[in-house]
Amino acid sequence: MNVLLDHFAEFRNGFIGTVEITAVSSVIALLLGIVVAGFRVSPVPPLRAFGTAWVTLLRNTPLTLLFLVFVFVVPEILFPGMSPFVLASLALGFYTSSFVCEAVRSGIGTVPLGQAEAARSLGLTFSQTLRLIVLPQATRTVLPPLSSIFIALTKNSAIAGAFSVTELFGWQTLMSEQGYAIIPIFLWVAAAYLVITFAISGLFRLLERNLEVAR
């Protein structure tokens, strides 16, 4: 018990850090994932190729390796002086975007082809068709897999702790170094993660209920 009361300020900072990196990289992953999914179903071959390369590269790279590249290589070449928080959020966001892309693409596949054909027959462009007709109808199908993806993202954010980002799992390292018993530390960390992941699944359940489409 003592470990939490003695070091509550650090624990709170870690919790806030995890929430922040989760939120920022979720937004990055969601936006990029939707755009890249659009690329992958686009009629323009170079965009399709880019989308496929993006997913293949990011999905198949171990996340730790991606963190290494973003935190140590990217600032050397591209953006010197960028904070570890931003770099870690980008790494996690890019990585997760490949999974979001594939979930969105599977959702696009569930919308009957006739919907897009009708939209294009009216003279809507490809991107209008995707934005106004296909994606809104794909949303509900995509929610359950997205919920899992964002929960995975939350837990993946623990790796950022190893790259000098303040987050929950880092608190565990800090406390065990100070000689506190390991089991209570892990229980408190686990409880904090549960708060975040339950909040995410709750949010998605709410969205699902509100997005019922009659067919």
């Binding site: 009957p112 919907q115 054909e117 009708a118 294009r120 027959s121 009216l122 003279g123 009659a214 067919r215």
Partner: protein, 261 residues
Amino acid sequence: MSGVSVTKVSKGPVPATDDLVVLSDVNKHFGALHVLQDIDLTIRRGEVVVVIGPSGSGKSTLCRTINRLETIDSGSITIDGKPLPQEGKELARLRSDVGMVFQSFNLFAHKTVLENVMLGQIKVRRTDKKAAEAKARALLDRVGVGTQADKYPAQLSGGQQQRVAIARALAMDPKVILFDEPTSALDPEMINEVLEVMQQLASEGMTMVVVTHEMGFARSAANRVVFMADGKIVEQATPDEFFSNPRSDRAKDFLSKILHH
């Protein structure tokens, strides 16, 4: 040869003639299947052309090539003098002038009936919302579903949905409307309400290409019947000529199968 050069008087954009849709020497394959074979077909402004034929004869494919929902392998298709462009903004603009009514209605499931009819006007024609709504309501009244405007497509009967789909096509003020088996997915008692709307359109001078199995409609509304079989246009004639005196054996065979029972 000299006679040919004399006819080529004008250069540049083809002058607007009475020929609205021109398919020449169109070929298309689905894998090994040669679905459209050397199709030549001209549809004049104001004409109602009904395409009939056994299933698998390529009539739906023919209809879908006209607004490039299906691409063609060779040949050319022009609409109002302009050849069909490649996928992109230009094609989108051209499609907005070519209405399409599908067998399975394809109303946007997440939008109300009214929104379905307003969408193209607002997003493609850039009409302001008020005008688009007024026009949509007028069109829905015209096809007899004005009272359903605020419902979702799934709440309507098939016949009502198809009439909404016709209103959606009309909202773009198209030069021609393509009907791809518009009544084939309907219960028998709903076929007539859709055919009546189409009949009315035909009598008002709308240019229409109708792929259908409704011989009654072909007889009463068509200016010309195009009979297709095995990817080819076998015969073209006025409805009277075609139904009372078909020339080809293929057409005789087809008619004998559908007209006697």
